[in-house]
């Protein structure tokens, strides 16, 4: 576009030079001539200004579109190529899903892609009751590319870039966790069994983004918790509660899953009783 800039920019300069030359010749020209040339000069100047304005606005517009499109398009392009090599078999050429293999990905959004791929659940190794967490197959950049591609095709929920935590609200987060999450994931996030080989996973390895993505997208059998049901503030409080739980110091060294007095009492009973019986036997053998 800079090529287009030059001619209109040059024109006013030329016209200015013309008018100054006209100034020197003023005395020899008639009043009507001066009026005609003046009008012409004005017309020329205005036209040039119009061209210049049009050229500038056009170039500005196209530059904006071009940058936005180049970043997104390239990312979506990269995401599409990843999709075509790693996902297409089960999710279909048009993200429509394949019967008995994989669900449709239209409208699942970046949140679902991030959760499934960043936790290594996707790409799946084999079809089973539930996809287990494993080492992620793609790099974070590739996951973002894939997310952009899926997001561009049908939209859907997205994990916000910031504000995933609200460390001041862990009490509220705990209440919401116990109401909405604890029935499956256990009170301390240890996870638990569902029907027919399925399970709610342990939350220990989960990052803020993964927890947020799971709440937004409802992976596998987990229900969705959209922003209308749990506001972003409530989600942030829940994330903070979970992470606070995991970061809490265990001075005893053996948390026993954080389940509380029942397993602790059981261990105390078995180990303590065992120690007492052993001590009694030892004393008996020495008597």
């Amino acid at each position: 576009m800079s090529v287009n800039d030059t001619p209109p920019a040059a024109e006013p300069r030329r016209s200015r030079r013309g008018s100054s030359r006209r100034g020197r010749l003023t005395g020899r020209r008639s009043k009507s001539m001066r009026r005609i040339t003046g009008t012409l000069a004005l017309l020329l100047g205005l036209t040039a200004m119009g061209f210049a304005f049009a050229a500038f606005t056009a170039s500005a517009n196209e530059a904006n579109v071009a940058t936005a499109a180049s970043v997104d398009a390239a990312q979506i392009e990269r995401g599409a190529s990843i999709y075509q090599t790693s996902c297409i078999t089960c999710h279909g050429a048009n993200l429509q899903g394949v019967l008995d293999r994989g669900p449709s990905l239209v409208g699942v959004g970046q949140a679902a892609v991030y959760f499934q791929v960043a936790t290594g659940r996707m790409p799946a190794a084999e079809n089973q009751a539930q996809m287990p967490r494993k080492e992620p197959f793609f790099t974070p950049e590739e996951i973002d590319d894939l997310g952009a591609f899926i997001q561009a095709n049908g939209g859907g929920p997205e994990i916000p870039a910031s504000g995933l935590r609200d460390d001041a609200q862990i009490a509220m987060g705990g209440e919401l966790f116990r109401l909405n999450c604890a029935s499956c994931h256990n009170f301390t996030g240890q996870g638990g069994a569902l029907s027919q080989g399925k399970y709610a996973p342990n939350l220990d390895p989960a990052t803020d983004e993964e927890i947020w993505g799971a709440m937004l997208s409802g992976p596998e059998n987990m229900p969705k918790f959209g922003d209308g049901q749990l506001t972003p503030e409530e989600k942030a409080a829940i994330v903070s509660f979970i992470q606070n739980n995991k970061a809490t110091i265990d001075p005893g060294g053996l948390p026993l899953g954080g389940f509380g007095p029942a397993p602790e009492g059981l261990i105390a009973f078995l180990v303590g009783m065992g120690a007492i019986v052993a001590a009694t036997l030892w004393m008996g053998s020495r008597a």
Binding site: L179, L194, Q196, P251
Partner: protein
């Protein structure tokens, strides 16, 4: 117990005896003979002092730990500190410190007592003859005869009035013991007729006809757009104390629009579009069911593994529950919020004898089946 060869000293003799002699006489009466007896170390010797110091050390330690326990109990920071703030370690150590000082004090005291018995008290080896535990044949037979003779002489066999009234008194006493336990279990579920608590939940419209809103736990009313497809929200009646009422918790589901759900007979129109509301209280023993598998439509109860199938009208498909979860009829109010169109048409929660029967006062059956 009484002795044969060792005579028990008389009163005058007891008054004359020294404590040592009394102890010896007592042992002799119990057939205890001392083989060895004497101090562990020569009194005043270095060994004796060493023993004394080691026992005193344990008692000192016990006292010190006990004092530390008291100090820690009062001044150690015991209020919860989140992991994000400084000082969680100190808080986390509160319980171990309390336990270690208290346990340590008791342990040291115990060791001190044992050490004192071994090192300070006199060393002794005593032999006691083993006694035969049973009373003599004569003692046993004569005691039994005495009891029987007393009963016979009182003539209880012929005194029917005594026997009868005694039986009555005994039975009544048993009743006194049993009635506080059993009495609490016997209630008339229809005592308040149509308003009896087993039939009525806080979802019933108010007396002026106001329908109750479905609210989240913080009281926020729920609109259809709040729930994404494939979601489940626990909602409570929007009345004071609604979120604490034991029979009012409800699961509000939004299923995908292509999901086919079996509607139970007589419950057509209870849903609103793709939104379905069911009681969260298990029909087995009343645990909150909320393990919702949004792909299979199953709702699991964590207590006894009952499973209900949302797609089948919440009929139980596994586990001990026998009745489906009751469905709450829902609709929208003028402002677009969910309200309960009316109360549940059946009793929520675990079954009871009268459940599913036709109460005489009620115009329609409260049938529990679909």
């Amino acid at each position: 117990m009484s002795t044969d060869q060792h005579a028990v000293p008389g009163e005058a003799e007891l008054a004359r005896m020294s404590p040592e002699e009394k102890a010896a006489a007592g042992m002799a009466a119990d057939h205890v003979e001392l083989e060895e007896y004497g101090p562990v170390a020569v009194p005043g010797s270095p060994a004796d002092k060493r023993n004394e110091r080691s026992v005193a050390m344990w008692f000192l330690l016990a006292g010190l730990l006990g004092l530390l326990f008291a100090v820690a109990f009062i001044w150690w920071p015991h209020e919860y500190v989140p992991a994000y703030e400084e000082g969680q370690l100190a808080y986390a150590l509160y319980t171990p410190i309390i336990g270690a000082t208290m346990g340590g004090a008791i342990l040291c005291f115990g060791i001190g007592v044992v050490q004192m018995a071994r090192k300070i008290f006199a060393h002794e080896v005593a032999i006691q003859q083993r006694h035969i535990g049973m009373s003599t044949e004569f003692d046993r037979q004569s005691l039994a005869a005495q009891v029987m003779d007393t009963v016979d002489k009182a003539g209880l066999k012929r005194r029917g009035m005594i026997k009868g009234s005694l039986a009555l008194a005994g039975g009544a006493l048993g009743l006194v013991a049993a009635i506080p336990i059993l009495g609490a279990l016997i209630k008339n579920p229809w005592a308040e007729r149509a308003d009896s608590p087993l039939w009525v939940t806080p979802w019933a419209p108010l007396a002026d006809g106001t329908k109750i809103r479905l609210t989240q736990i913080d009281g926020t009313p729920v609109r259809p757009e709040d729930l994404a497809a494939g979601s489940m929200a626990t909602v409570f009646p929007g009345v004071p104390g609604g979120s604490k009422a034991s029979d009012a918790a409800v699961m509000l589901f939004r299923v995908r629009s292509d999901t086919v759900i079996r509607i139970r007979d007589g419950q057509q129109g209870f849903q609103f579009g793709d939104y379905y509301a069911y009681s969260k209280i298990c029909t087995h023993v009343g645990c909150p069911v909320s393990l919702y598998e949004q792909q299979t439509g199953r709702v699991l109860c964590p207590c006894h593994q009952s499973q209900f199938n949302l797609y089948e009208g919440m009929f139980p498909v596994f586990g001990p529950a026998t009745r489906p979860l009751p469905q709450l009829p829902i609709e929208l109010d003028d402002e677009g919020y969910f309200v309960a169109a009316r109360d549940f048409i059946e009793a929520v929660g675990p079954g009871f004898w009268e459940n599913g029967k036709f109460p005489a006062w009620y115009s329609e059956p409260k049938e529990a089946t679909g």
